[in-house]
Symmetry: C2
Subunit: 353 residues, 2 copies
């Protein structure tokens, strides 16, 4: 399997090291062959090639079976013009590869739930999968421009039917493998695109009679995620609503640093990255939390390579590591053992073997 | 002062009664003259006039000094075609009157904070004013339509410079009267409209050097509202982001039923309504919580009539009522006194006089 590594900026390279170690361990335990090719993206690509997404990186990714991304961005590039911003690399690679489905599982870890901003009884037991459309909507619609000497501005929320159909199909399939409750989020009382979205959800619902479907307005969803996170199973929504709601949901469990994500398409090719950012303030200190990155490799094994058992092994090993009390500086565990990036990776490997 | 009352649907008429009683008390205590004219909006207007916003209602509102709205909507009209939906009345009146600034204060009540989904130490002390642009953006931009036999759909996020300027100006003025921290929320890493928004905020910042200005992406704002609600003072943002974030914020204190809102324009004319919905399930039972409506009348006295002292009196009376232990069924107070709509209104009046 040909895996492209995009370490990116800040703590990206450090946590990518951990991912490699974990994958090499899995490879030798299970007799797989993973080859790694490292390429530039984001801020460091701007510094080296004056381009957040060099051609060479795109080519490598197009040829890859799967891609691992560390994190991109940092204050250093914050005032760059928009085509020289690190996140252009991220948006560009999603679009170039057609990675239309962003999967964001939100699930707490028992030993970390005490750090949740929510009362423990509110959040415990929550297990949500947010499925965000990732290559359409306001992110890529045109026109997106100033008019009349810059006194008028428009952005365009654009969707084609097949773009809605494929993400909604993905959501129903995911719901079938889980608790079979699908919450579709839109703003159908205002947006024409949401009314089309709702129609397609209702059409597909008849193909999946076992799945219970509910429609929720995005404002109501933003409330209910906080008041009743336990209510949800699978949530599906368009690009920008998904951006906002998945980030909102990511802080509910109190351990953002643990969350993985996948951006995939129908043939199994996907890009996997932790939800947290590049944390430039702690970069190079050896204290970054690699567990979100490691759990992203598990998502890769599952979704891109169909290696369910190996994925589950990694998830189990991470869980055990926490239960043993190991935690990085961003996490607190009562009477736990504070560990650096390398130490906690070693502990995961120990539990894997 | 000519006040138009739009009781609306569900519990709207009951809580509007309470508002009238409170305003009549203020009128006689302070020697003001308030005249009330009641008109139809929302579901009941659909039932009676086949129009969620009858011409007559618009005319009355155009002639009014201020408008009080109860709540609109209910399951009964949920499957109507979009021009016969209760919320069309709400959107229509905002647009017809040019009520471009939606003010949503979020502040907890000591005796109710225990009901917050957040840990008490997270939420206590929070005092946020969300200022949402209310007549532009995706809500009213055209084209908003299907194309190519319905296989393509577009909505348009449209803003003119002066629309951004006036709401941002309002936000700076509000910040000057509060803690002088202004958080401007946008999605400048993706949207052209957000980049224009950010420019205007930065221009205005030089006019208000005392105000500390920060820019926050909407996804990051959705997180920070939960992890650090105490951080915020005034938040300003465009229409749809404001819709999502103000609803998200409204559940943080655990007493949605207490929150008022104002939708105003520059000359002081405004529409005032509680944040909660029409709650058709408890309508007519005499148990609805009128305090959000009553606090909305205080906002009206302050923003439309410049009656700061009278507004503060009402707020104090509501506070005292809670401290005395009175609460409606949607609230819990330890060793408190469960009261119906009328009883709790009486208690507020008692504290007012
Ligand atoms: C960096 C930004 C453009 C991006 C997005 O909005 O998609 C990020 O917030 C994300 O969710 O991956
Ligand atoms: C009813 C709906 C159209 C409305 C909006 O989105 O503006 C509501 O959610 C609100 O915030 O007042």
């Amino acid at each position: 399997k040909n895996i492209v590594l995009l370490p990116g900026d800040g703590i990206g390279p450090e946590i990518m090291e951990s991912a490699k170690i974990v994958l090499n361990t899995i490879a030798s335990e299970y007799n797989h062959e993973f080859t790694f090719h490292e390429h530039a993206i984001g801020g460091n690509a701007i510094d080296r090639f004056n381009n957040p997404l060099p051609e060479e990186t795109i080519h490598a990714c197009v040829a890859a079976d799967a891609i691992l991304l560390g994190a991109v961005g940092g204050k250093k590039w914050d005032n760059n013009p928009s085509h020289l911003r690190p996140e252009k690399g991220l948006l560009g690679i999603r679009k170039a590869l057609g990675l239309f489905a962003n999967l964001r599982p939100i699930k707490g870890f028992k030993s970390l739930l005490h750090a949740s901003p929510l009362k423990e009884e509110k959040i415990s037991g929550s297990d949500i999968l947010i499925i965000r459309e990732l290559t359409g909507g306001l992110y890529f619609g045109t026109p997106s421009e100033r008019r009349e000497n810059g006194d008028i501005v428009v952005d365009t929320l654009y969707y084609e039917r097949h773009e809605m159909e494929r993400i909604i199909e993905k959501a129903f399939q995911s719901a079938m493998q889980r608790k079979k409750l699908l919450t579709s989020v839109d703003k159908a009382n205002v947006l024409e695109s949401s009314r089309m979205w709702r129609e397609i959800v209702d059409e597909k619902a008849s193909v999946y009679p076992e799945v219970e479907v509910e429609h929720l307005l995005v404002d109501a969803a933003a409330m209910k995620l906080i008041t009743e996170p336990n209510h949800f199973d699978v949530i599906v929504t368009e690009n920008l609503f998904g951006d906002i709601l998945s980030d909102e949901a990511s802080v509910l469990t109190g351990s953002l640093g643990m969350l993985p994500s996948a951006s995939i398409r129908t043939d199994g090719v996907g890009l996997y990255e932790p939800v947290h950012g590049s944390a430039p303030d702690i970069a190079g200190k050896g204290i970054a939390n690699p567990l979100g990155m490691i759990l992203s490799t598990a998502m890769m094994l599952r979704h891109s390579f169909g290696l369910e058992q190996e994925a589950a092994e990694i998830e189990k090993a991470v869980n055990e590591t926490l239960e043993q009390g190991y935690h990085t500086a961003d996490l607190q565990i009562k009477d736990g053992k504070l560990a650096g990036t390398k130490e906690i990776t070693d502990a995961v490997i120990e539990n894997l073997t």
